[in-house]
Amino acid sequence: MTIQFKDESFRGDFSYANSPSNIPRFPFPFPEDEYMYSTNIEPHHAARTGSPFENAFDVDEHYVAEMKDRALVLAEDPGRCQALPHMETAGWDFLELVMVSKARDYPDLFKLTMDGDRWHWINTPLQIDDTFTFGDSSTLPCHPMEYIGRQVQGDHAILDQRDGNLWMDAGIITAQADWSLDFDIGMNFFEWHAPVPLAHELGVFQRALKFLLTLPQGQPSRRLNWTLTVNPRLDTSPENYPKWGPDRMTVTPENIGEKIHLRVELQTFWRLPRSNAILFPIRTYLMAMNEVVTQPKWGRRLHRVMRDLRPELVEYKGLSRYHPILVEWLSQFDDGAPTSPGIFPD
C-alpha cells in the first residue's frame, strides 16, 4: 500500500486534516472512561496491522508536510536542534536505527545499502539520495542526529546515561507541547520533569527512571501521552508562546469541533547500542474534535474523560480557558452507552 502524502500546513491557514481512512488509525490515548496519570509503559512490539504501532517508526500521510514544517522551524531557530559534544556516537546510533527500520518496514519508500562503512540512503518521499561513511560526520551535511532527525516524524531527545540517571544531552525538538530543549538541555531526568504536578507524589518518576536505566537493547518500549491544542499547530514551544497562546481566546461553542485538537504523543524508548544512550522519540498525532467524534466510542469516552478530569490536570495541561465549553460540546456525543475496553475504535 503506498501512502498518499498530503500537502498541508501546521500554521497560517492550518490546512492540516486527517483523511477519512487515516482517522481510525489515530492512537486514541484513553483505554477506559477515566484518566489518571500513570507510567503505562508497554513493550513496543509490532502490533495491529495498519495501526501506528505496526512499525518501529510510523510513517503516515502527514510525513512530507511535517518534515517541511520542521525545516521551517529550524531555519528560524537553529537552537531547536542541539547536541552536547559527547553525543556524536549516539547521533550515529539514532541514524542507523531509523535507516535500518524504515528500509525494512517501508521498502517502497526508503532504501539503505551498506558496503562496510560506505552507506547509500535513498528517501523517496523527500527526494534524498546520499552516500556517506558511517561514523564520519564530515561525510554528512550536518550532525548525524540532525540529518536523520529531518527525515523522521516526531521530536527526538537523546538521553545520556551516567551516575544512575539520564541526562538530556541532545535532541531535535520542533513540534513540542510547551517545553524547550534550550531550557532542558543538560538536565537530568528529575530536573526536566520538575514541573509535572501529582506525578512526584505517586513515585511515578522513580519507577520510570529505574525502568529506563535498565532498558535492554532490542526491546523498545512505548507509552501514550496527550494534551489538547487549539488549531493543528505542531510547534507549541514556549519560545513561540506569543504565536499560539492567544489562540485559546478564539475558541467558541461554534468552532470548537474544528479548532480543538486532541494531541497525542506516541513516546518510545530505545537503548542505543554504541553509545549506551536512550533514544526518546516523541511522535505527535493531531486530530480535530470533529474528526475524533466520527468514531462513536471515542466521542462517548472523551466526554467522560474530560468531564471527570482532575482540576490540577486541567490546569497543568492548560485547558482551563475552554474546558467547560468543551465538556458541554462533547456531551452531545455521549448517549450513556458502555464503551468497550482498549483504545481502538469499535
Binding site: 551516567r162 551516575d163 529505574k210 535498565t214 535492554p216 532490542g218
Partner: protein, 321 residues
Amino acid sequence: MSASDHLIPVVVSNVVEVNPIIKRFEFKHVNGDELPAFSGGAHIVVEMLDDGTKRKNPYSLMSSPFERDQYAISVRRDDTGRGGSKFMHEQVRPGMQMKISAPVNLFSLDLRARKHLMIAGGIGITPFIAQMTQADKLGVPFELHYAARSVSQAAYMDSLADRFGDHVSCYCDDQGESVDLEVLLSNQPLGTHVYVCGPKGMIERVVETASSLGWPAAHVHFEHFLAPPVGEPFEVHLAKAGIDITVGAEQSLLEAVEASGTPINCMCRGGACGQCETVVVACDGDIMHNDHWLDEEQRAAKQRIMPCVSRFRGKRLELDL
C-alpha cells in the same frame, strides 16, 4: 521482562586456551547474521544447559564493538564456584550451539571524559579490551594499568601491548610490582574518568584513594566482578505462586525461581542492576544479601532481597513472587 528472556542462538566458533586458567570463547549467530552492536563494557548472559541444570552467567564482551560478525568472552576457571566456569572449560567446544542474551552495559565509558584511566585486576581485564578499542577509535586518550598474579596469568598482556603500546602498563605480583594508586590518581589531567574492574579489595582501594584525593564521585566507575556465591541449600516460599522451592547449594535463588517457572525480572545476575529486587513477605532467619544494590538500612530491614546473589539461613523465607 528480562534481557535474558530474548536469547540469541549462537554457535561456538572458536575456543582458545589463553593460559592454564583462562579460555576464550567466540560466538557467531547460527544463521550467520550480524550480532547486535554494543558499547565497551557491555556483558552478555550465556545460557548453559548442564545436565538438566540451566545456568546463566554474565560475561563481559571483549571483542571489538565495531565488529558484529562475532563476539568473544573470556572465562576464568573457578573450581570452587557454582560450576558455570567449569562447564564452559570442560564442556563447551567449537561447533556447539548455545544461547546468549543481547548485550547490556552497566559499565559504559563516560563519553564526556577527556581521558579514560582504566585499572584492571586479573580477569577484570575483559571489559577494558572492548573499551580501549572504542576509546581508540573515538580518539580519546586512555591508559590501562593491569595487575595480575604472575606473567603467565596476565591474559592478553602481550597482544594489548602490541596494539596499544605505551597506553598499557602491567604489574605482576610475582615480580614484586604493584600500582601506586596515590601517584597514578594524583597525576591525571582534569576531566579524567577512572574505571576499575577486578577483585573487591582492588575496587575499594581505587574508590577510596580517588575520594581521598578529591576526585568527584561521578568520575569514578567500577564493575564488581561478582558471581553468585555457593552455600547451604535453603527453602523459600513464593507467596503469589503459592509454591515452595528449594535452592540448591550451587544454585542461585534467581535460578531456582526461574526453574520453577515463576516470572521474575533480571538483567545483570550479579547484584548490580536492581532489576530482580523482590519484596520479602516474611523472614525468620538471616539473609546473606551479597548485592551492591540495597543500602545498609534496607538490608537490615529484611524487607527486600536481590535473588540473583542473595542466600538465606533460617526457619522461613517468604517472597512476593
